[in-house]
Amino acid sequence: MELEVADLACARGGVLVLEGVNFRLEAGEALMLRGPNGIGKTTLLRTLAGLQPPLAGRIDMPDEALAYGAHADGLKSTLTALENLRFWARVHGAGEGEIGRALDEFNLADLAERPAHSLSAGQKRRLGLARLLLTGRAIWALDEPTVSLDVESVRLFARAVERHLARGGMALMATHIDLGLAARALDLTPFRADPDRAGKAGAGKDSAGGAGKAARPPEDPFSGAEDLA
């Protein structure tokens, strides 16, 4: 199992932000994404997660291998912590035993019956991170996973990542704090799309955009649906 990214270009809101991104990640490795605000860390993670198509380049990894952890945790405030986790467990086909382990690993067992709206920001974040264990996926792509975590919880999270890596998993994180993990860092600054080459980048974007469209299902066959309705 490995993740290989070659010559990747991605855009945010139609504006090219990163190009020529290259890296490789093998089982058991972690990679920290670094770079100033706005450099495109979130854009890169969303592109890897398949939420937006790359403008150019290649992402090689097995299908459904990546678990995405966004800024928002995807929790429902009126459901209890346990109900929230149980939902994601069922979506990903994980069992009750795994839910219990995920609760224990993030020290949430005592909070299981509390509705999510009564949890603190840090507790919510831990609940959101516990979801990762239920996805059963090897590559964790996390966007600022330590936001609102206290020192103890950061340690808890670092241990969870270590265990994940030891199981042959991989982690890709946009974070500014040092987790104490033996991880490589990738500074995205050299991959910043060059505004001076905007014309050239635009041309490349067009051709790559065409290729991307061909790979997605065509949108036209259903355009008559409105009439039908």
Binding site: R46, A49, G50, L51, Q52, P53, E64, L66, A67, Y68, A70, H71, A72, D73, G74, L75, K76, S77, T78, L79, E83, F87, W88, R90, V91, H92, G93, R131, T135, P217, E219, F222, S223, A225, E226, L228, A229
Partner: protein, 218 residues
Amino acid sequence: MIALLVRDIRLAMRAGGGFGLGLAFFLIAVMLVPFGVGPEGGLLGTIAPGILWIAALLACLLSLDRIFTLDYEDGTLDLLATSPLPMEGVVAMKALAHWLTTGLPLTIAAPVLGLLLNLPESAYYWLVVTFLLGTPALSFIGTFGAALTVGVKRGGLLLSLLVLPLYIPSLTFGAEALRRGAEGMANTVPLLMLAGITLGTIALLPFVAAQAIRINLR
């Protein structure tokens, strides 16, 4: 996918979930009509099919905004999009959950309101039949509209403007089948059209809506 259906229904039932909102609106909107039109039984009975159908459309509209907006705002939609569930299935389950929490209660409440509108006795059977056949289309078309407006801040009004014109065929055939049924005339044709629209929307719109969501998430 059943997990998603169960979760959506449970969320609708919990505090602030909006279950009963559409139903209550339906009850009040229909109850206002006798006050506005006057108690003349004959007139009320004549316009009752149209009133019931229009009130049902508006009641359906109320909860459409919630279908995707809440999941979009708390990040659930991103996570669902990267989960093993196909987006088409997610959309279909959301539409089904919307129908179970809105269309089905409306169908059950409609005969009671028929009484208030002096609906002829022969019409009650057709009232339930046309609602059962027609309201799923309202949920599926509405889900499609909600998918188009995901990510639009305060897109509720835009959503209404998009969706209401698309409700016209269901309204036309639903009210017509009910009116003809009430008057003892043959209503097979409008009933079949109504059922056809519903089946068409169930078959096609989840695919279009899923594509709209994928584009809106970028």
